[in-house]
Structure formats: structure tokens, C-alpha cells
């Protein structure tokens, strides 16, 4: 006979409020239902009450981990609506910050996954290494979490050669750490036992579920906006699109290890190629003519989309935020059915859900 098993809304495996109601038969999950909305803050509605520039601070606080990508997607939508050109140096600085944020996010995710598996030494090792990238973000922006780097028409802070050198040195440290993580995630018996052949989704199923980001790429889907719908200066940078075909928790986790290495490669190129010039378009945006635009970026968790409608005033008429977690979460329900209870936190956690992003 089946019984209900609650995961959340407050659970040691989850950092945020999320509630998954499992229907168990023994320890096998017969059915799963994920309930959302515990961290709703009315960000979209609040955005229509503030001016375009004040909304930057708001959208950046939609998420604590991918805050830069939120402000970037928002800026892309606003800049498109206002017809603003972005200086090339600003584009490079945006890519630099975005890739540092991607490494930070992926390392945080890998540590959290280790914690969910009860491997606290790997968790601590990963998170202590993550400090290097947090330090670089602080060096770059003055902040460890909400960087306030973006502004409409460019970025707010420039980098000099001293900062570039420190970031180069940090990349060497991070590369060593990530290679060790790569080794651990391919050789350690307990991590392999807990992630291989768990939550398997075929490529076809993944297409039907519409998953995005590393969750899709770990199912063999070649999808990364930086490559498939390139934006900013990504087309001038040399990096690999990481795709693994196994479709299990391990492959979707390991994609992130390899992506962190690619991000290090991108950052090195950015520091070498960054041109001289202004970091912001001097034109000030106050009011924007009626328009309907979209800003899309490849956030660490997948495609992040901002849909902006302007009506000629100094504030958005409507701002819709579509986060990767909202797209990937239904896939977790699919993966949970038939899984073992012990794997439930890992299956939910491995899509790297950001409930704050999703609930907005």
C-alpha cells in the first residue's frame, strides 16, 4: 500500500523552500508532485512600479547565484527596446562576469550535490575552492553575490591590468580544482554509485519535456544560447559546447564540471582580447517608445528569458521573467517516478533548481 512522503518545504537537502509530495510504495516513488510558490516576491509586478534603471537592482535580486545573468537579460531587453548600442569593451566585461558567475554557480552546485549524497568532504572541498571565484567577483565588482555590474547601455565598472592578472592567477587555481573534481566525479565509487543510471531521461524524452541548459546537454541535446543563438561577443571566442549522451544524473552533473573548464578557457581569452574603449553608451535612457522585446542569455542553469513591453513611459508596462528552473522542474517529476526514495533529493537537486528565480 502506498503512502505519502513529504520532501520539504523545509528539508536539509534543499537550500530553499520547495515542497515535493512523493507517493511511495516501499522506498520506490510511485508518483511525485512538485509544489512551487513558497518564495514569491512579486518581482514582475514590482518592476512595473519602478523606472527602467531602478529595476536593475530589483531584477538582480531575483536570484542570488545568477544575479548577473538576470540583470544582463533585462539589460538586453531594455537596450533592444531603446535601440542602444553597447561598446565592445562592455560586452567583454559582461562575458567575463557572466563566466565567473557560471563557474561560481557550477561549483556551488557540485558541492551541494556532494552534500545531498552525504559526501561532506567533497562538499567542503568544492566550496572552499569556490572561494577563489567569489574573491574574483568581489575584486571585479566589490560584491560577492549581487554584483551591480550591469547598467543600461554597458557596465558600471572597468577592469585594469592588475585585476586581469589576478583573475588569470585565480583561473590557474580554479583549473586545478576543477580537474581534481573531474577526477573525483569519474573515479569515486560512492559518487558513481549514487549518480550513474539514476534519473535516466532519453534524448527524445528530454526534447518532449523541453529541458534547457546543462540538464538538456546532459541528455545529448546540443543547446546552448552562447553557441546556438549566439549573443554578445561569444561568437568571437573559442570554446566547446559540452554535450553528454548518458542522460542520467551523473552526465547532467558532469556536464557542469566540463563547462566550468570551458568557462576558464573563455575568461582567459576575454582577458587577452578585451579591446580598449568606453564601457558604457553615454546616452541616458529615461522613456522608451512602445515596444515589445526579448532578452535571452544562457544562465548557468539554462536559458533565461526576459520579455519586456514598454508603453512610452519611464517604466515597463509588463516584464515577464522565464527562468530555467521553471522549465526543468517538470522533468524532475518525470525522473522521480520509479526512482528510489534515497535518490529523490539528488534527482530534484541535480537540475540545480533555483526556487527564488522561479517563484520571482
Amino acid at each position: 500500500m502506498g503512502y505519502k512522503f513529504p520532501l520539504g518545504p523545509y528539508h536539509p537537502a534543499f537550500e530553499e523552500g520547495e515542497y515535493i509530495e512523493l507517493e511511495l510504495e516501499g522506498e520506490m516513488v510511485a508518483d511525485a508532485e512538485i509544489k512551487i510558490g513558497f518564495i514569491h516576491r512579486a518581482v514582475e509586478k514590482s518592476a512595473t512600479k519602478r523606472t527602467f534603471i531602478k529595476d536593475l537592482g530589483l531584477v538582480e535580486r531575483t536570484c542570488g547565484i545568477c544575479s548577473f545573468h538576470h540583470s544582463w537579460a533585462y539589460c538586453l531587453a531594455v537596450e533592444k527596446a531603446a535601440g542602444l548600442e553597447i561598446p565592445e569593451r562592455a560586452e567583454y566585461i559582461r562575458v567575463l562576469t557572466a563566466e565567473l558567475e557560471r563557474i561560481h554557480s557550477h561549483l556551488m552546485y557540485l558541492g551541494a550535490m556532494a552534500h545531498k549524497m552525504g559526501f561532506d568532504t567533497l562538499f567542503m572541498f568544492t566550496w572552499s575552492g569556490r572561494e577563489a571565484v567569489m574573491d574574483m567577483l568581489e575584486l571585479l565588482s566589490g560584491n560577492r553575490v549581487n554584483y551591480a555590474m550591469n547598467t543600461i547601455g554597458g557596465v558600471r565598472r572597468d577592469i585594469d591590468e592588475n585585476i586581469a592578472d589576478q583573475i588569470r592567477a585565480a583561473m590557474n587555481t580554479l583549473e586545478d580544482l576543477t580537474l581534481k573534481l573531474k577526477d573525483t566525479w569519474t573515479k569515486d565509487a560512492s559518487t558513481l554509485a549514487r549518480t550513474k543510471n539514476v534519473g535516466v531521461v532519453t534524448q527524445k524524452e528530454a526534447h518532449l519535456l523541453g529541458v534547457v541548459g546543462p540538464t538538456a546537454r546532459g541528455c545529448g541535446i546540443r543547446e546552448d544560447l552562447r553557441k546556438t543563438a549566439t549573443y554578445s561577443v561569444y561568437s568571437s571566442l573559442n570554446f566547446e559546447l559540452i554535450v553528454l549522451d548518458d542522460g542520467d544524473v551523473w552526465s547532467r552533473t558532469f556536464v557542469r564540471v566540463l563547462e566550468a573548464l570551458e568557462s576558464i578557457k573563455i575568461i582567459r581569452q576575454v582577458l587577452d582580447k578585451i579591446p580598449q574603449g568606453p564601457i558604457k553608451n553615454p546616452k541616458t535612457v529615461l522613456k522608451i517608445q512602445p515596444n515589445d522585446t526579448i532578452g535571452r542569455v544562457e544562465a548557468p542553469r539554462g536559458e533565461l528569458m526576459y520579455h519586456l513591453i514598454t508603453d512610452g513611459t519611464d517604466r515597463p508596462a509588463r516584464l515577464k521573467i522565464r527562468t530555467p528552473t521553471l522549465i526543468n522542474l517538470p522533468a524532475s517529476e518525470h525522473m522521480l517516478r520509479g526512482a528510489n526514495l534515497a535518490d529523490a533529493p539528488i534527482i530534484v537537486g541535480h537540475i540545480d533548481p533555483c526556487m527564488s528565480c522561479m517563484d520571482r
Binding site: Y3, K4, F5, P6, H11, P12, A13, L24, E27, A114, H115, K116, M117, G118, F119, D120, T121, L122, M124, F125, S128, D188, A189, S190, T191, A193, R194, N340, L341, A342, D343, A344, P345
Partner: protein, 316 residues
């Protein structure tokens, strides 16, 4: 007189078990690049739990958990009364009887059943799953555990010529240790020791086999509904179970017998700490947690088969 000394020894061991818990946390913290809590943290935690108001969840059965905790305390006391206490001239058992080694094996099983009772008494999905996982793990490690004990007993008969009733007792092993310089030089005893070391994490509930507790899965499992003084008692029982198993391994296989009481006391305390480091600290620092069926499969196919081989070899 002897009972009074034994009670003092019991209290000292209880405090030592809490200190060992703190030392373990400190060592793991340093392995993970953290400072960790002070080594007396578990004593502070234990005392703090008794200052908290005891509260029972509406659907939980406090009677079942209270009975289970009393049984747990009795099991710990019985276990420690069987294991020899350092005294002037060597070691002395408070309770010595033929087959007390088998009683000790049942003490470990009984402590696992205490956790099961606490889990079923909790009546929450987390505690119930924790209890059922404890049963699964008990079934998987208990078979090799008993087989190894039997193998050791038969090997001891072969080596000493003592009757069966004598050799399945701690006293019999103390006699055997006086005959052999180091028990581990014998391949059967060495194999048994290794199997018992491998069984250790499951018996004491350490990662990678802390499956019945699994904080990030079932929120501490069988003990999820315990708090206040009841959790304090459970906390104490868990520490004593760890110490009991370490004490058992140290006494049977490694402890040298000297006539100096202080040397015996120090060696017993340090020996138990060493065993705790091997069966508890190191595994939880270098591995993640397995699923219950992976744990059961591991114990039945690894130590399970090894224990059968050891038993067959001991009979030859």
C-alpha cells in the same frame, strides 16, 4: 567494591564516548579544511538537550520510544559489564559467563532494534522509513557478524583446546591472548578482524552506511521525532554503541595485557579512540552515502561471503 569501581568506569567511559565524538568531529573538520567545534562539543550538546523541554509530536508514541530508550540503556550497561575493565593485575569482567561473546553480539543487535522501535514509535514517514532501513541493514550485517564470531570461536577451540562453552566467552579470548603474542598473526583472526572493521560503519551508523539516518534524505530517519531529554538519551546511546563496538574490537584483537592498571586504562581509552577513527571517522571523511540496497548488497556479497569462507576455514 567491584561494583562501585565498575560504576565509576562506566561513567568515565560515557564521558570518554562524548569526548571521542568531539574528537571525531574535530578531525573530520580538519580533513575538510574547517576548524570544527571544540572537542568537548558533544558534552555541551548532551547537557543542552536535557535543559530543553521534552515534547512529543501528536501522533508519536512516547511510551514506545521511552521503553526503547530504557532497553537501549540496559543493553549498553549489559555490554559494558561483559567487556573487561582494566584493574590491578590485568582485566576483570563484572559479568562473566560462558557464551558472553554471543550475548555481546546480541547487545549490538538489540541496540539496532532500539532504533527500530524508536522509528516505529515516531510514526512519521521519516522515522518509519528510517526504522525499515535499520531493519534492512541489520539483516545484511548481522549474518556476517554472527558467522565471524562463530568462526573466531571455532578457531580458538582449535588453538587452545578449550571447551566450546569457554571459548565463546571474553574470558576464553583473554586466555587465548596470553597464549598468542598477537591474535592478528593468525590468518583466521586477521580475516575476522578485517570483516568486523568493514561491518563497523554499518553497526555504528557511520557514512557510507548511515542509511537509516540519512539526514539529506529522511531528515535523521528513526530519530526525527526525538527532541529534548529523549534525544539526549538517544544521543548518549549512539555514542555508547560506537564506544562499545570500538571497545569490543580493541579488547578481543589488539589490547596488550599488562599488570599496570594505569597503563591498561590509558591503552583502553586510546585503543577505543583508534578503533573509532578507523570504523567511524575515516569512512565518513572519504565517502558518500550508499543506498540501502547497495549497502545490503555490499555486506552480503563482501563481508558475507568472506565470513562464510572464514567459518569453513576455521572448521578445517
Amino acid at each position: 567494591m567491584i561494583i562501585g569501581v565498575w560504576v565509576l568506569w562506566l561513567i568515565a567511559l560515557f564521558i570518554w564516548s562524548l569526548l571521542i565524538g568531539g574528537i571525531d568531529r574535530k578531525i573530520v573538520a580538519h580533513l575538510q579544511g574547517r576548524y570544527g567545534p571544540p572537542f568537548w562539543q558533544d558534552i555541551t550538546d548532551f547537557l543542552k538537550l536535557f535543559r530543553k523541554r521534552g515534547k512529543t509530536a501528536t501522533r508519536s508514541s512516547s511510551i514506545v520510544s521511552d521503553v526503547a530508550l530504557i532497553v537501549g540503556i540496559i543493553a549498553v550497561v549489559v555490554g559494558l559489564s561483559i567487556l573487561p575493565m582494566p584493574t590491578v593485575g590485568g582485566y576483570t569482567q563484572l559479568l562473566s559467563t560462558s557464551g558472553d561473546l554471543i550475548i555481546l553480539a546480541y547487545v549490538f543487535a538489540l541496540l539496532a532494534i532500539v532504533y527500530v522501535l524508536i522509528g516505529f514509535g515516531g510514526k512519521s514517514p521519516y522515522t518509519m522509513v528510517g526504522a525499515s532501513r535499520e531493519v534492512s541493514m541489520l539483516l545484511s550485517y548481522e549474518i556476517p557478524f554472527i558467522l565471524v564470531i562463530v568462526a573466531m570461536g571455532y578457531r580458538a577451540i582449535l588453538l587452545t583446546g578449550l571447551p566450546v562453552s569457554t571459548i565463546f566467552s571474553i574470558a576464553g579470548f583473554l586466555v587465548l591472548k596470553q597464549k598468542m603474542a598477537l591474535l592478528l598473526l593468525d590468518p583466521i583472526f586477521l580475516g575476522s578482524f578485517l570483516v568486523l572493521l568493514i561491518l563497523g560503519p554499518a553497526i555504528v551508523g557511520a557514512v557510507p552506511f548511515d542509511i537509516p539516518e540519512a539526514e539529506t534524505e529522511i531528515v535523521d530517519g528513526y530519530g526525527a521525532e526525538m527532541h529534548g531529554p529523549r534525544l539526549g538519551v538517544l544521543f548518549g546511546i549512539k555514542h555508547m554503541k560506537l564506544l562499545l563496538y570500538a571497545y569490543f574490537l580493541w579488547t578481543i584483537f589488539l589490547s596488550p595485557v599488562t599488570s599496570n592498571i594505569w597503563l591498561n586504562i590509558i591503552m583502553t581509552l586510546l585503543g577505543t579512540l583508534l578503533m573509532v577513527l578507523v570504523i567511524y571517522t575515516v569512512p565518513r571523511a572519504v565517502s558518500g552515502r550508499f543506498r540501502v540496497e547497495q549497502g545490503a548488497k555490499f555486506y552480503l556479497l563482501g563481508p558475507g561471503l568472506a565470513s562464510i569462507v572464514l567459518l569453513l576455514l576455521s572448521l578445517i
